[in-house]
């Protein structure tokens, strides 16, 4: 779909909602008390008039003796696209489930603006989730799936209809309303899951690895589409993934998580270019880690020889990181930070040549064009401004 058309559809969606008066009116989300035995109201804590920052304040969670989250604190600004990135078991999904209200934290608070969400059950939080397996209701049509959240709050049929229609349009699902989930492709299911969440106009949309079930090509398209959708809607999106490319493609900021802790928070380029520690450096872009010892002002001794740094590290012994594509391979000695190495392995990758060299071993991505022979001796330049000093 062309960007212009998408904009038109989404713009239409927003103005329509404004026209029906669904945004910013607490009354609109009140239950009209038609079903016996239902507790009073749903979402009566005030409608999404203004967007709020989501504050995660010292969240800890234990599963028996296992600590899944260890005092996680951060803020997601209203309208921001934040990704929780980390290996499986790092606590990212648990954190998402705590925000959604499926799990309770053992310590800490979740706050949306000034409002404490801790004691609100999942069905009363202005937060919606796109599940990893989509979790579409198999017994309901696409239309009824998307309408579920609206009908559960007893919106008038006409309003439900308008919102669902716009949801279908926004995610290019026109003509699929009468289908059932088992009649949809993976990509279509994913878009239904997105529409089902977004028609509720949540303040925060949570996405639990929503692209893991798609094939690589479709995933790349969906990532771009997701980013565009988020920008248009201006909603807060929180994505959970273990895929660093996906995280860097879609996010305003990335939270790198490991073992229930946040290792680093920053923009894609910050966490990639300026990793704080070994975990982040290795997890994003598989950087080379070089143990080093401080021997003089801005000079360290490593297995590769003496290297110059931009600034003095804060340690006596520590680690340097450099991404493979930041190392320059050449046949003549560079002016500074030159290292004499021998090629152990060379793999042609089309847009670059992947070298494995000794000592190190170091991984280097060199521009193709030069033919590297295995066993050949080369010079590498490890530019001082590309050598990141890690904290550990």
């Amino acid at each position: 779909m062309a960007a212009g058309a998408g904009e038109a559809v989404v713009g239409c969606f927003r103005s329509m909602l404004a026209a029906v008066g669904l945004r910013g009116q607490p009354g609109a989300v009140e239950v009209q008390g038609s079903t016996g035995g239902m507790p009073g109201k749903v979402g009566d804590e005030g409608g999404p008039a203004v967007s709020h920052d989501l504050n995660i304040e010292g969240i800890s969670k234990y599963f028996g003796p296992v600590q899944a989250l260890a005092g996680v604190t951060f803020t997601v600004k209203a309208g921001e696209f934040v990704t929780l990135l980390g290996p499986s078991g790092c606590g990212k999904t648990t954190l998402l489930r705590i925000i959604a209200g499926f799990e309770r934290s053992d310590e800490g608070h979740v706050r949306l603006g000034e409002r404490l969400l801790d004691d609100l059950p999942a069905n009363r939080r202005p937060v919606n989730t796109v599940f990893q397996s989509y979790a579409l209701f198999p017994h309901l049509s696409v239309y009824a799936n998307i309408a579920f959240g609206l009908r559960a709050r007893h919106f008038a049929a006409a309003e439900v209809d308008k919102r669902v229609e716009f949801g279908l349009g926004m995610l290019q699902l026109d003509g699929l309303a009468e289908r059932y989930p088992h009649q949809l492709s993976g990509g279509q299911k994913q878009r239904v899951a997105l529409a089902r969440a977004l028609v509720n106009e949540p303040e925060v949309l949570l996405l639990d690895e929503p692209m893991s079930a798609l094939d690589a090509k479709l995933r790349a398209e969906v990532q771009i589409e997701m980013r565009r959708l988020q920008r248009k809607l201006g909603k807060t999106f929180i994505l959970v993934t273990h895929d660093q490319d996906e995280a860097m493609t879609v996010s305003d900021r990335i939270l790198v998580m490991n073992q229930g802790r946040i290792e680093q928070i920053g923009t894609s380029s910050e966490v990639y270019e300026k990793p704080r520690n070994r975990f982040v450096a290795e997890f994003l872009g598989a950087a080379n880690l070089i143990p080093a010892e401080l021997v003089g002002p801005r000079t360290v001794q490593t297995a590769l020889g003496m290297l110059e740094l931009r600034a003095d590290p804060r340690w006596e012994r520590g680690t340097l990181a450099i991404h493979p594509e930041r190392i320059e391979a050449r046949r003549t000695p560079p002016k500074s930070n030159g290292v004499r190495v021998r090629v152990k392995d060379a793999v042609y990758r089309g847009d670059h040549v992947e070298l494995l060299v000794e000592p190190g071993p170091l991984r280097v991505q060199a521009v193709p064009g030069i033919n590297f022979e295995i066993g050949e001796r080369l010079w590498l330049e490890l530019p001082a401004e590309r050598l990141e000093v890690l904290l550990d």
């Binding site: 079903t35 035995g37 239902m38 507790p39 749903v42 979402g43 959604a100 209200g101 499926f102 059950p121 999942a122 069905n123 009363r124 937060v127 919606n128 989730t129 599940f131 397996s133 979790a135 579409l136 209701f137 198999p138 017994h139 579920f148 959240g149 559960a152 709050r153 059932y180 989930p181 088992h182 089902r196 969440a197 509720n200």
Partner: protein, 268 residues
């Protein structure tokens, strides 16, 4: 379509006698139910006379009525209780050891021999009679007896479906603003319905065919068809017994076929 696999002759040689062994008695009963000979095993021509006579046999009609009342009432109660039991077992965050114990307790009536169960019922009711005189052998005791073993079967069927559905759809419903009641009505119940119907049909079939528990808990006025057939058999075979037996077999087969239809899980 999957390709047709060759069947080894030994399989056929084993299967045919087994099927004969299983179905020959049933077929024999059906054949004699339309044999005009009153006594003996000689074929004397086709007749529906015994079926017509059934309609005028008061004891038989009474027993049929009792069987139906017992079956329907006990099934209705057991279906509700069994479903609730399955939901409670699956949903409540029981600690692991307790969950395991509960599973065993629920499954126990399925594997307990009927006769043990029935004897236990007799003892239980005689003890309960000291509390309330209403616990005499009869319809009430039979309904309670049947419900007691039916619950396990219903719970078993419903629980396996709950496990199949998994917790994510319920979370999705919650996430989409559904209250507990709305979630049950719009998600849990529709998804469980095939299992609930299957469980109910299984329970009804079991009640219909039950002899042992009925026999031990029945009162003088609450003969069911299995009990009637048993006592009639002792007086000698009657073609009417063949006729009613055939009808019960047909009803059971119909229920089992219906059950088959409902247990097939439509996958999303």
């Amino acid at each position: 379509m999957s390709e047709r696999r060759k069947i080894h002759p030994v399989v056929t040689m084993l299967a045919l006698p087994s099927l004969l062994l299983l179905y020959l008695p049933l077929v024999a009963v059906a054949v004699y139910s339309v044999n005009s000979a009153r006594i003996g095993l000689v074929w004397e021509g086709f007749t529906l006379r015994w079926y017509r006579e059934l309609l005028h046999n008061e004891a038989m009609l009474d027993a049929a009525r009792n069987t139906m009342i017992l079956g329907l009432v006990s099934t209705a109660i057991a279906t509700v209780l069994g479903t609730l039991l399955a939901l409670g077992l699956a949903r409540f965050p029981w600690p692991k050891p307790i969950a395991r114990t509960l599973d065993v307790i629920v499954d126990l009536p399925v594997v307990t021999p009927d006769i043990i169960f029935a004897a236990a019922m007799v003892i239980a009711f005689s003890m309960l009679r000291s509390l309330w005189a209403g616990f005499v052998p009869g319809m009430l005791a039979m309904v309670i007896g049947h419900v007691t073993f039916q619950i396990s079967f219903v719970a078993l069927v419903v629980r396996s479906r709950l496990v199949l559905i998994g917790p994510t759809l319920m979370e999705a419903g919650r996430d989409l603003y559904a209250s507990s009641f709305y979630l049950f009505r719009k998600v849990t119940l529709p998804l469980l319905l095939p299992a609930i119907v299957a469980g109910a049909m299984l329970a009804f079939t079991l009640s219909l065919d039950d002899f042992v528990i009925s026999f031990f808990t029945a009162g003088p006025k609450s003969n069911t068809l299995p009990i009637l057939i048993y006592s009639a058999q002792r007086r000698g075979l009657s073609p009417q017994i063949h006729a009613i037996s055939t009808l019960i077999v047909i009803l059971t087969v119909a229920l089992v076929l219906g059950l088959e239809r409902f247990t097939r899980y439509r996958k999303a």
